[in-house]
């Protein structure tokens, strides 16, 4: 006979963002995303929390400066697809102390595990009407390019890892703060909250976050994209009108 011992309920994590909508208007100088969450675990095993926030995917182009005849020129740009426009990972301690290579790689947790899709094979295609754009001809120096993408994005404040970004504020209750710079792209973000126990991800929650332009900023942006020629005319009329107005004002004074 098998003894009927009720298996302890699986540990779970739950979390909520204090804001699910970041509105970018003229005064926008960045925002702080605050996330609260709780760990439900009757066994009281040591728990670690990792929060991964990804912004909308933004294909990016990167070029390497090479010296040609004494001049520093850009090489042909290489396109990386599927790189997030924004990436933050916050955790209760250093990621390598929380889990091993495989689970971190699988979750894309940590800058070194972030999946940036650059096709490894050489492919030349016609993009935007320009022929022979090298999508990727990265062989041996693939890692150099990848590291460069991460470094430049980190420098721009768009990618970051904070090993002290999540703190337990009470038993089972944690809090994370993530700063969104003013340069952060517009679009849909996801925050993935992962509970780690014994180096394994045992529970995952996803929360959505939207960063959108609001008010006049949005109106102008939409105007510029939808009716570019009218927008251009309006901007010129504003410019010429202002110049004329100033000269009239100065003649009177």
């Amino acid at each position: 006979m098998i003894p009927l011992v009720a298996a302890p309920p699986a540990p779970a994590v739950s979390a909520a963002l204090t804001d699910t909508e970041i509105r970018v208007s003229s005064g926008f100088r960045g925002a702080r995303i605050v996330l609260y969450g709780a760990v439900f675990d009757p066994t009281d095993r040591p728990s670690d929390i990792v929060v991964i926030v990804r912004g909308p995917d933004q294909p990016l182009r990167i070029a390497r400066k090479t010296q040609v005849a004494g001049l520093w020129l850009n090489s042909r740009p290489v396109v990386f697809r599927g790189a997030p426009g924004f990436y933050r990972v916050a955790s209760t301690r250093k990621l390598q102390d929380i889990a091993g290579f495989a689970p971190l790689r699988h979750l894309g947790a940590g800058l070194e595990h972030l999946a940036i899709a650059a096709p490894l094979e050489q492919r030349v295609e016609t993009t935007y009407g320009v022929r022979d754009v090298v999508v990727s001809r990265l062989g041996a120096d693939y890692l150099d390019w990848r590291r460069a993408v991460l470094r430049l994005k980190e420098k721009a404040g768009l990618y970051a890892a904070d090993p002290q970004g999540v703190r337990f504020v009470d038993k089972g209750l944690f809090r994370a703060e993530l700063d969104l710079p003013a340069e952060a792209p517009i679009g849909r973000y996801t925050a993935r909250i992962v509970l780690f126990q014994d180096g394994k991800p045992v529970s995952i929650r996803d929360r959505a976050l939207v960063v959108e332009k609001a008010g006049a900023e949005r109106a102008l942006y939409v105007f510029a994209k939808d009716r570019p020629w009218t927008y251009g005319l309006v901007s010129v009329i504003v410019a010429l009108g202002a110049g004329w107005a100033a000269s009239v004002a100065f003649r009177r004074s």
């Binding site: 850009n74 042909r76 340069e183 570019p228 901007s235 010129v236 010429l240 004329w244 100033a246």
Partner: protein
Amino acid sequence: MHFYLPIAEVSVNALLLVVLGGLVGFISGMFGIGGGFLMTPVLVFMGIPPVVAVASEANHVAASSVSSVIAYSKKRSVDFRMGGVLACGGAIGSFIGVEVFRWLRLIGQADFAVSLSYLLFLGVIGGLMLTESVGTILRRRSGQPPKPRRDRRPALLYALPFKVRFPRSRLYISVIPPVLLGVFVGVLSAVMGVGGGFILVPAMIYLLRMPAPVVIGTSLFQIVITTSLTSVLQAGRNQTVDIVLATLLLIGGVIGAQLGARASGRFRAEELRALLALLVLVVGLRMGADLFIRPEEAFVLMTGASR
């Protein structure tokens, strides 16, 4: 006070931009140049994507130039016919320039093209103007009579067909040289985000041999037309004109331009020219230096990847 720019997608200090716009506008009104060659590098330095800086700057240049061209036309020192001919060339040049810039961006060489054109044009023109005006100043200080101006105009101006009379400039020359000059300046204005005054002014003096009093006003008049067209084309084709950025700059710009146009009468022409030459030379060398200095960071992220 910080402002979030809808197209550039960065947050900037609005007051700083107004003041900068004003300073550049002052220089613009004083020297009869658009001032874009000063403003565009400053904007890029402030973290505004270069493509947006170039396109929005054209708009700002248009505004401050209108402001000063009105001031000059009151003094009857604008040759509208010559300006119109130059602007026809400028229109053609703008079309070509916007397409060239678009193509340069896609192959990733826009930065290089911008640096090189700054180094080449500003360096050469600044150098020539500086030598010439310092020479004049030195001769005057030492009491020598000014070098007689060679009144012999290049024969090419007369040999070519389509001759037109320009009464205010007291010229009767072929329209081909001014049109070509206009095309050239139009291309530059799109690629470098400048009005092209720093090329037009010396070219009108030394190549077309226009009388000095009408040169500045005429140059500004042609700049207004060319930059207006460039900004419509940049907005329509590349969607890179940030109207908030341009407006902040032009608030200061139009006022500065008025003050500059008034102040220009109080200085000696040669000293003014020497000062401008120095400014042009320094900016050109600074922008071009990047081509020769080993970059600290070997990789560059390109903007405009998503389009």
